[in-house]
């Protein structure tokens, strides 16, 4: 399946969907409620606590004082925005197999998730990992109005993503660690990659994000040609597009079975990594559409839900 350059208009409508990522509470006030994280001010009463010097006297429950003769202060459910970090792997491996269009699928997925996030009044930042240069990232975009016109965040994100190219080598774990270091305030990190690397190398980056309070979702984009290499070749010299290393392979039945077993092991290792790090893992093949993936697989694993 070949994908053309993604445009916002080409994506299906995701109206009514919101992102739900565990442990991604931001610091800025917002609409997203975080039960169990009481705060002194708010709308929805969640709990009471004993008055301590410094508490706002306006939140003293005077009925409780009268009936219980105790100073109790109201606590409210935290309402914060979620800063969604869309981390898109742009290493050269995203460009092969060419006809699978992994990078195009990844761009479409990032655009779809950005739309869902902005529509849910979350803030969005997109960062490109790799692509031949230092990590590039957008400012934080929020849904809103400016000077009577809709904000242009969606269009700018689309233009930014459209310029993304698969180029160069990326150490994914190190790139994630670097991102966590540069953005220490917690948020939701949605990592879109082909994860064609050793899971142990990725784990360090995921743990660094988790350590800073990020809710992490690993979105695995895998090409149909990687699942079924017989579609791509029967014999030839395989060349790693990132390292340049080569290996002659004849795709005999035994070799194919061996590869399929190794691939299944790799995918299982990624799932185990997600479980260990309390992150979410979802896999999208390029044979499916982004719409199917978002409303199907991501809803199933709980990354998106209806309002």
């Amino acid at each position: 399946m070949r994908r053309r350059a993604d445009a916002p208009a080409a994506l299906p409508s995701f109206r009514g969907l919101v992102l739900r990522v565990r442990g991604a509470m931001g610091e800025r006030l917002g609409e997203r409620r975080f039960p169990g994280r009481p705060q002194p001010a708010g709308i929805e009463l969640e709990a009471y606590s004993a008055y301590a010097p410094g508490d706002d006297l306006r939140h003293l429950d005077w009925n409780a004082v009268g009936r219980l003769d105790a100073l109790l202060v109201r606590r409210f459910t935290a309402e914060r925005e979620v800063l969604v970090h869309l981390l898109l792997d742009c290493s050269a491996s995203m460009g092969v197999p060419v006809r699978d269009g992994k990078l195009a699928a990844a761009r479409q997925l990032a655009m779809a998730l950005a739309q869902v996030a902005l529509a849910g009044n979350d803030a969005v930042r997109v960062a490109l990992l790799g692509g031949g240069t230092v990590p590039r990232e957008t400012p934080v975009y929020r849904f809103g109005w400016r000077q009577g016109q809709p904000a242009t965040g969606v269009a700018r994100l689309a233009a930014f993503l459209a310029a993304a190219e698969a180029r160069g080598a990326v150490a994914l774990g190190a790139a994630l660690e670097d991102h966590a270091r540069r953005h220490p305030r917690p948020g939701a990190a949605l990592v879109i990659s082909d994860f064609m690397t050793d899971p142990a190398e990725v784990e360090g980056g995921v743990l660094a994000l988790r350590a800073r309070g990020y809710g992490v979702v690993l979105l695995h984009v895998i090409g149909a040609g990687e699942l079924e290499p017989g579609r791509e070749f029967r014999h030839g010299v395989l060349r790693d597009v990132e390292s340049g290393a080569t290996r002659p392979i004849a795709l005999t039945r035994a070799a194919l079975e061996r590869y399929e077993a190794l691939l299944a092991g790799h995918l299982a290792a990624l799932e185990a990594l997600a479980r260990r790090t309390e992150t979410t893992y979802a896999r999208m093949t390029t044979a499916s559409t982004v719409g199917e993936f978002v409303t199907g697989e991501l809803a199933r694993v709980g990354v998106v839900r209806r309002r």
Binding site: D198, R234, H235, L238, R239, V241, T246, P248, A250, L262
Partner: protein, 606 residues
């Protein structure tokens, strides 16, 4: 049913199959597949490719079939029906019947020799063999198509006689070779006096021809040209005739030149010409108009070029009515009339003519208007909307681009392209006439001079304004064109003479008559081709035909020579129940190419 191939050397194309396999093997070693990572593949056993067995894929098989189809087509395979008749002996006889074949030496003509040899070939044919008879003169002519009746061929061969025309042997040879290619095993035999290298056919094609050259003598004197110089409206005393006599032999000869007009002797002059020499003879002072017959009295090998004919038109004085409002035009015509002895000229203005239309003149010139008239008339610069001379507006800065060189009104006029016209009317071609001179300017071309017969009179429409330049040296081309047109208008109707060269098509004009012996008339518009020199009567027209052709008159050859054929023409595409199937293979190759393309598109990554 049998099968075979016509081009066995095409099997060399199978080398391409080996090339294809080699390319695949090379590609297998060379082919690099980019992958995202090798960390999985590193755990799969590597496989040295050059040690592996060659396993063709669907694309390779399609390409192999495509190659085999192409090579198969190149082999030119055929199938042949079992009941197809095997080709028998076939003979195409090509005989040169041009004028030079009339050359007489050793008591017989060259054509007699050719006919005798052709008859010998016919006698050698086996029963059932077929023959075809083709003659070559100014054109190729199939005298008798394929026939297995030798008596019929002999009969037609005996009835043949050489013509008085030039030779175009190439056309007849191509025709015969075409027949030979269509029927394998056909023998082509040519009998001519032309050297092989002058046949007009490439040497490799002549290799399939039995070529017999006949003749040796070069003893020939000929009238190589005859020109009558008769200025318009000039008196008979001013007419001159120039005769060019040429000795084509390598020995000096003497002869007597006799000239007569309508049978009345005019002049007799002895001539002595050196080897290969020419001599022009000027004849002056004809006593009457009519057909000039010039004859060389000499005993040489070829008689047909010893006579020639020309025409001296009756001398008619200028008898002209000029209707013009231009004082300069009137003065110019008066100046012209003054220089032509015996002229009658009357110049009137338009009002005077409209008040009382004048007649009694042979020709009228209407300058700038186009009234109906009973006499022959030249309409100069006719106004727009004229019924006689239709046109569609004016043009500036026009020039003459073409003219009918054979038309009597402009015959002998050279350099008409020098005629530049500042302002000219764009004439259309009316139903009664034909364009004789064409002019062009920015925006296209159109007739400048239209001539024809309209309601029993001769009419000329001239798009140019006559103007005062007519009497000056700048207007010389226009003056010559005007005088030529007036001469044509002044000719006596019914006195039509056509002087032609044999074998050369000439416009027959309005001649409508059944063909006569020695003349061919064909086409639309009709052209006349003379096959015999001399005087011919075609309806009410007189046709004078001459042979002025150096190739025919220069009859010297190297003696009788024969070049036997070294090859036979290759087999035809389909003959004798044989059907080639190469195009089916080419079609299959095209289909395989399309299929291979589709498979490649599905297989190859973008």
């Amino acid at each position: 049913m049998s099968a075979g191939v016509l081009n066995p050397t095409g099997a060399l194309g199978l080398v391409a199959v080996a090339v294809l396999v080699a390319l695949y093997l090379y590609d297998r070693r060379r082919r690099v597949i980019p992958v995202g990572t090798l960390f999985l593949w590193k755990q799969v056993a590597a496989s040295p490719l050059d040690r592996r067995r060659f396993r063709p894929d669907a694309l390779f098989l399609l390409q192999l079939l495509l190659l085999l189809a192409l090579v198969g087509g190149y082999l030119r395979p055929y199938v042949q029906r079992a009941d197809a008749r095997p080709p028998g002996g076939r003979l195409v006889l090509v005989l040169d019947v041009s004028a030079s074949m009339q050359a007489r030496e050793a008591g017989e003509t060259r054509f007699d020799v050719a006919r005798r040899r052709a008859r010998a070939l016919l006698d050698a044919l086996a029963p059932g063999d077929e023959a075809m008879l083709v003659t070559a003169a100014d054109r190729a002519h199939v005298v008798l198509g394929w026939t297995a009746d030798p008596d019929r061929v002999r009969q037609r061969l005996d009835a043949l006689a050489p013509l008085d025309t030039p030779t175009r042997l190439g056309a007849a040879l191509e025709l015969a070779l075409g027949e030979a290619r269509a029927r394998p095993g056909t023998r082509v035999a040519v009998f001519t006096d032309l050297p092989r290298e002058a046949s007009g056919v490439p040497a490799d094609a002549l290799a399939a021809v039995d070529y017999a050259q006949i003749g040796r003598t070069d003893d020939n004197l000929a009238i190589a040209g005859l020109v009558v110089d008769q200025p318009p409206f000039a008196a008979l005393a001013d007419v001159t005739v120039t005769v060019l006599v040429r000795n084509y032999g390598h020995a000096a000869r003497s002869a007597v030149l006799e000239a007569s007009i309508d049978g009345e002797p005019w002049m007799r002059r002895p001539l002595a010409l050196g080897p290969r020499a020419s001599e022009p003879v000027l004849l002056t002072g004809p006593r009457r108009a009519g057909v000039v017959a010039v004859r060389l009295v000499v005993d040489d090998a070829l008689a047909v070029d010893n006579r020639a004919f020309a025409w001296i038109a009756p001398a008619e004085p200028l008898d002209l009515l000029v209707v013009t409002d231009s004082r300069e035009v009137g003065a110019a015509f008066e100046q012209i009339a003054h220089t032509v002895a015996g002229s009658r000229l009357e110049v009137v203005n338009r009002a005077r003519y409209e008040e009382e239309p004048l007649g009694g003149r042979r020709v009228a010139v209407f300058d700038g208007f186009a009234p109906p008239a009973a006499m022959n008339a030249l309409y100069a610069a006719p106004p727009a909307g004229s019924g006689i001379c239709p046109g569609d507006g004016l043009a500036d800065e026009a020039a003459v681009v073409d003219w009918e060189v054979d038309h009597p009104a402009v015959r002998g006029l050279e350099g008409l392209q020098a005629l530049r016209l500042a302002r000219v009317r764009r004439l259309a071609t009316p139903a009664w006439g034909a364009p004789v001179v064409l002019a062009a300017a920015r925006g296209g071309d159109w007739p400048l001079l239209v001539l024809g017969d309209e309601s029993g009179r001769r009419v000329a429409c001239l798009g140019a304004e006559l103007g005062p330049a007519l009497g000056s040296s700048d207007g010389l081309p226009l003056l010559l064109l005007t005088l030529g047109t007036l001469r044509w208008l002044a000719e006596q109707v019914g006195q039509r003479v056509l002087v032609v060269e044999t074998g050369t098509p000439s416009a027959a004009g309005s001649f409508r008559a059944a063909p006569v012996p020695g003349l061919r008339v064909a086409g639309d518009p009709p052209v006349v081709v003379a096959e015999r020199t001399g005087r011919h009567r075609l309806g009410d027209a007189l046709v004078l035909a001459n042979l002025f052709d150096d190739r025919e008159s220069d009859i010297g050859r190297d003696g009788d020579r024969v070049w036997p054929a070294t090859v036979r023409p290759s087999a035809p595409l389909s003959a004798g129940g044989r059907h080639e199937v190469d195009w089916w293979l080419y079609l299959a190759a095209a289909a395989l190419l399309a299929l291979e393309w589709i498979v490649w598109l599905r297989k190859e990554p973008a």
